[in-house]
Symmetry: C2
Subunit: 210 residues, 2 copies
């Protein structure tokens, strides 16, 4: 299997965690996003969006979009499960994940920030924008798991929610967001840090880290 991504991409980071939790290995290919390697014609032939990651499964099929890749991994390699069995609990986990995967990460990704710069906004304003997007998303996430017992977002083992949260927290830190206001999320981060599946997936541990 192959994972085409970038060490700092949160969406690639999510798939790395999921692969590790499933004890699956994939060959990693790196595309330097700031140099635009994801817009090469070779990459666009695999992924017409020109975004990372792209995943190639054992039979050579190409899959795009991190959440779709992770749902596929979970359906194809069900142990350990990344979603609860109960439909209502699955909906709660997916909802938490979507707060980050839909409403947070894409609003502060490299492409959107580059466009803000093109519109003449200063670096300070661009960083404030990214911090704002992270704060809004994380504030909702903190509320969504207020009644949960932990140590992970939804119970005793990691789910799609934690897979989306940990990379987003790394982004939030990078943009100067004060995480002290998110005690539940920080507790989840501590629990995740204890697991090799999460720590091995960290950007700084990747072969293409700068």
């Amino acid at each position: 299997m192959e994972l085409h991504g970038y060490f700092r991409s949160s969406a690639s980071y999510r798939v790395r965690i999921a692969l590790n939790l499933k004890r699956l290995t994939a060959q990693h290919f790196s595309y330097h996003l700031r140099n635009g390697e994801q817009r090469s014609s070779a990459y666009l032939a695999m992924n017409p969006q020109g975004l990372v990651p792209t995943f190639r499964n054992a039979t050579g099929d190409l899959l795009t979009q991190s959440i779709a890749i992770i749902e596929w991994l979970d359906e194809t390699y069900p142990d350990p499960s990344l979603l609860p069995q109960d439909p209502l609990q699955r909906a709660r986990v997916r909802s938490f994940a979507m707060v980050l995967a839909c409403d947070t990460h894409p609003v502060q990704n490299l492409k959107v920030l580059a466009r803000l710069r093109q519109l003449g906004l200063t670096e300070t304003v661009v960083t404030e924008w990214a911090a704002w997007a992270n704060q809004e998303g994380l504030t909702a996430c903190e509320a969504l798991i207020a009644g949960e017992t932990g140590p992970f977002c939804f119970g005793a083992s990691p789910t799609l929610a934690d897979i989306c949260l940990i990379p987003q927290l790394a982004n939030a830190k990078r943009f100067g967001v004060d995480l002290a206001r998110f005690p539940r999320l920080k507790a989840v981060a501590s629990a995740a840090a204890e697991l090799k599946a999460f720590s091995d997936a960290a950007p700084e541990k990747q072969h293409d880290a700068e």
Copy 2:
């Protein structure tokens, strides 16, 4: 069941289509987004993000995030199915849906456009931003189904992909995007328009339409 939404919200529109395809009825409650009704304390108690829609199921449980709601509907009321049975095909449908639900719609929603205005950008620049987000997403979607036979995005019946596409096309039109460059997507729109599940869900047919 209850759907708390807004006639013009694409995410509410998606859930309306899904409910209609499943032949389910829900009582509709409207929140005027431009007046900020989704940020009232009563609404925030249901949905800490302050975004529509929120869904209340028959047993009174609250669900948020349109994709999570639709996946729940599909698991709970499986006929007709909104995802193919084959995991790889499911991944392709979800990937198409995520191009719109993650990378397109949230980049051009009311909240993001309001923030651009706050930064002093002109109405022309804000509309160009929204058009750009739609164009990027729809261009990828057109490529993702280039090899499909139709009439829907992925085969003979509607899936989560079509449920996300039709509301996004309405947005794209509203922002002045030329749809002529997306012949496959336009063909899907024609097929969807023939189905009452889609036409009944259109914004202009809702009780809160202005």
